[in-house]
């Protein structure tokens, strides 16, 4: 059996990812103030960046740097969990469709199409406006449950391709039971596809969380997240630029990084 050529992620990218993970884990320890503490709402609200507050304060006089550092784990955690949920659901549906007979495959894929055709934001709104701000795990679950369709399509396509290869045909002819076929043959071969799909789902969940926060439906207050730090500006982006610029840069950076990882995994080099 020929091994597919392994694509590597370069050292800089790995280091950056590692740095972000470290910063996220150490965030609460590094934060100069308690992230939810209103220091002095009368005198210290909306302070621009200064030596005392490196990234300024928000309307409650909370330190933006502390919220930013602690918020990383909520934003990234929700996105990571959402990507996980999307990956599991998408793989299950994709594999199921590729392995099942014609009718069930057709039905599963039409369901996927139907969910893709429904505006994702509306579905999220339907759920969230009814229940109120969701707990973090529930938020991640809902984000994942509305974001698995692309993964399912990718997985089905790749599985069908794999099933046509000699190695898999051989395994089927030899009578390998379906469960073993999935765990020992298909999943390992699918790994690169899954990694790409997961980074994609992750990259789409990060801005979505901030979009929901703008509508007041994201990570519940007073927990900080990059999205709800930006939402604090209440649309006044120019005069309160410091609550907007830094979290936005972080969101953009994270998404770029995720895209880069995905690109490395598919091409071996970024275009």
């Amino acid at each position: 059996m020929t091994r597919p050529q392994r694509h590597r992620v370069d050292a800089t990218t790995l280091l950056t990812v590692g740095g972000i993970v470290a910063l996220t884990l150490a965030g609460p320890a590094l934060a100069p103030y308690a992230p939810t503490e209103a220091l002095d709402p009368q005198r210290l609200a909306w302070q621009p960046p200064s030596a005392q507050f490196l990234l300024g304060t928000d309307g409650f006089s909370r330190d933006v740097l502390s919220r930013f550092l602690v918020g990383a784990r909520h934003t990234l955690g929700v996105a990571l969990l959402a990507a996980g949920v999307a990956l599991v659901l998408g793989t299950a549906v994709g594999l199921g469709a590729a392995l099942a007979g014609r009718w069930r495959e057709s039905f599963l894929m039409r369901c996927t199409d139907a969910l893709l055709a429904m505006p994702r934001l509306l579905v999220l709104l339907l759920v969230v406006t009814g229940t109120g701000a969701l707990r973090l795990d529930a938020l991640a679950l809902v984000l994942g449950a509305t974001g698995w369709m692309t993964t399912a399509r990718l997985v089905r396509q790749e599985t069908r391709r794999l099933l046509a290869t000699d190695a898999l045909r051989g395994a089927i002819v030899l009578g390998v039971p379906p469960a073993r076929l999935v765990t020992h043959h298909l999943l390992p071969a699918l790994a690169p596809t899954l990694a790409v799909a997961a980074t994609g789902a992750f990259a789409s969940a990060v801005p979505l969380e901030s979009g929901l926060s703008y509508l007041g439906l994201g990570v519940p207050t007073p927990l900080p997240s990059w999205g709800n730090i930006i939402a604090e500006a209440e649309g006044d982006l120019l005069r309160r630029w410091w609550v907007v610029v830094f979290p936005t840069a972080a969101i953009v950076g994270t998404v770029l990084l995720a895209n880069r990882v995905a690109e490395r995994l598919t091409h071996g080099d970024a275009p």
Partner: protein, 553 residues
């Protein structure tokens, strides 16, 4: 940056133009009101929002209207509208209204006594879901004596009988009597209403815009502005920016940061006025999961007082509104006739809450400084409405202040729908509630009165129940003497404040933004649009293109 007091800033603005300059030629331009909420539904029996009330009261006239001093008791404070005069029966249980012979519907038909009967019938039809229905329960019936005379019969004598009658807007019976029950909402009339007010509906795109045109031959005289348009922007930031960019003329309620921002736009005049809404943190007297049982913590008055003492309301209000809100004194606003500014609030105190909570056994501490009793943390769940930015912010500040007293407040922020359901179901420890008041005080029966009396306590989400409060309110409302009424109601305020039924938070002082080319009469705080017909263009200010007289109606 040092924060100058916003109120000082407002005082420095030129005072409102005096009324004597208001006489000008008819035709006073176009007023564009920017708003975030759609007015729909905008018929007097079914209107729900403030914007809906505005449109309904420009389209329709009532029998009588409360005057500028906003005294709802007796009859001295009321001015004639569709009813030119009225007469009390000897037993005071009926009032006979004589309609203005010049009053016409916008289609030219005369307004008759039957229209008054129809007005009440629409309020009473349960399928219309009229929010006014609960306000006019003291009216027994309305009888058309002849075409020009309608008699309103009351169940009981009360200080606010005429006020009740002022809530009944005559509706055109010749167009509505043939509708099936509950058919008002889906009728063509709801889309193209025929009213009796100074403006008629010209154009409407639901949720986008609505245009009203002046009624040339109105029985009270032709109104000033030729057109009044509503432009709806779902995002308030966009709606306010329209006023900055001269795309609109009025925004009714500016948030404090935008009051500061307004100084950058020379064409904008700021109009501060007295508010009618108040915000409070109501304690739940009943267990959240079982409304039959008393609340394990908050049923104890000592705990409620301690939690109230632990809050620095002055600091909270300054942080939220700068100087654009008053501390709330009780379940009333300062603009109300019954307001009592001599009530002493429970003062902010950092030591007393600690003593009280220690004495109640909350002596343990978690690592985060939250008090413990028998290993259980002192934790309260606060229901907060997500659409209200002010209340969400207030909740965060209260959370922080209570945390310093060792109380863990969990903020349960919900969208309007879910918030309303949980509030009405009593599913909370404390709720960040708010009520809009009116000149009348009858609302107290439903917002703070107990369910022990029939029809009371429907909106009393914390289920506060005091027999003394109830009877003072009932006595006050039953009295025929306005002075007695006011005293009884004020006594009731003192009872509920002493009971610490809620932390009375704030009463915002609204500031409106209005384009400077208009000369304004005195701003009516309870319904600013009532003076819209007397707005005039300042001859010295440059008019805008949209002020040109519309060519054809």
């Amino acid at each position: 940056m040092t924060r100058r007091s916003l109120r000082a800033l407002l005082l420095a603005l030129p005072l409102l133009t005096a009324c004597d300059r208001l006489r000008g030629p008819a035709g006073a331009g176009t007023v564009i009101v920017s708003t975030a909420a759609d007015p729909d539904p905008f018929l007097p029996p079914t209107r729900t929002s403030v914007t809906g009330r505005m449109v309904s009261e420009l389209l329709f006239d009532p029998l009588v209207e409360i005057g500028a001093d906003l005294n709802p008791f007796g009859e001295a404070g009321f001015v004639p509208r569709l009813a030119a005069s009225w007469r009390w029966s000897p037993d005071s249980l009926a009032v006979t209204f004589t309609l203005d012979p010049k009053a016409r519907w916008h289609d030219g038909t005369s307004v008759t006594a039957r229209d008054v009967v129809t007005g009440l019938a629409l309020i009473r039809d349960p399928a219309n879901g009229s929010p006014v229905a609960g306000e006019v329960v003291d009216i027994d019936s309305i009888v058309a004596v002849d075409a020009r005379t309608a008699r309103v019969h009351f169940h009981e004598r009360s200080a606010e009988q005429l006020y009740s009658a002022s809530l009944v807007y005559p509706m055109p019976s010749h167009l509505l009597d043939s509708l099936p029950a509950g058919g008002l909402a889906t009728s063509a009339f709801a889309q193209r209403p025929v009213g009796s007010g100074p403006y008629r509906l010209v154009e409407r795109e639901p949720k986008v815009r609505l245009v009203l045109g002046a009624v040339e031959d109105h029985y009270r005289g032709r109104p000033g502005p030729d057109r009044i348009a509503l432009t709806i922007s779902p995002d308030p930031a966009t709606g306010i920016a329209k006023v900055w960019a001269e795309e609109a003329d009025v925004w009714e309620l500016l948030p404090p940061p935008d009051v500061t921002a307004a100084t950058a736009y020379p064409q904008v005049r700021l109009v501060p006025y007295n508010g009618w809404d108040y915000t409070f943190v109501a304690f739940n007297f009943r267990a959240p999961n079982d409304t039959a049982a008393a609340h394990p913590l908050l049923a104890d008055p000592a705990v409620r007082v301690a939690l109230t003492q632990a809050l620095d309301r002055t600091g909270l209000i300054r942080a939220l509104f700068d100087s654009l809100a008053h501390p709330l004194l009780g379940p009333f606003v300062r603009a109300q006739f019954t307001a009592d500014t001599t009530i002493a609030p429970i003062p902010f105190d950092t030591l007393a809450p600690a003593r009280t909570l220690d004495s109640l056994g909350w002596t343990g501490r978690t690592r985060d400084g939250i008090r413990l009793r028998d290993g259980r943390p002192l934790r309260l769940r606060a229901l907060v409405p997500a659409p209200s930015a002010n209340r969400v912010r207030a909740a965060v500040l209260v959370q922080e202040q209570w945390r310093r007293a060792g109380v863990d407040l969990v903020i349960d922020k919900r969208e309007a729908q879910a918030f309303g359901a949980a509030r009405d179901g009593g599913d909370f420890d404390v709720v960040f509630g708010g009520w809009g008041t009116t000149p009348s005080v009858r609302g107290l029966r439903s917002t703070w009165g107990s369910g022990a009396r029939a029809g009371w306590g429907r909106q009393n989400s914390g289920r506060y129940a005091s027999a003394i409060f109830d009877s003072l309110v009932a006595d006050g409302l039953a009295s025929a003497d306005p002075v007695v009424t006011r005293d009884r109601i004020r006594a009731a305020y003192r009872v509920i404040v002493a009971d610490a039924a809620a932390v009375w938070l704030y009463e915002p002082m609204p500031v409106a933004a209005v384009h400077r080319r208009f000369l304004l009469p005195t701003w009516r705080p309870e319904a600013w649009w009532r003076t819209l017909p007397s707005w005039r263009l300042d001859p010295e200010a440059p008019a805008l293109a949209r002020d040109a007289r519309p060519t054809a109606p």
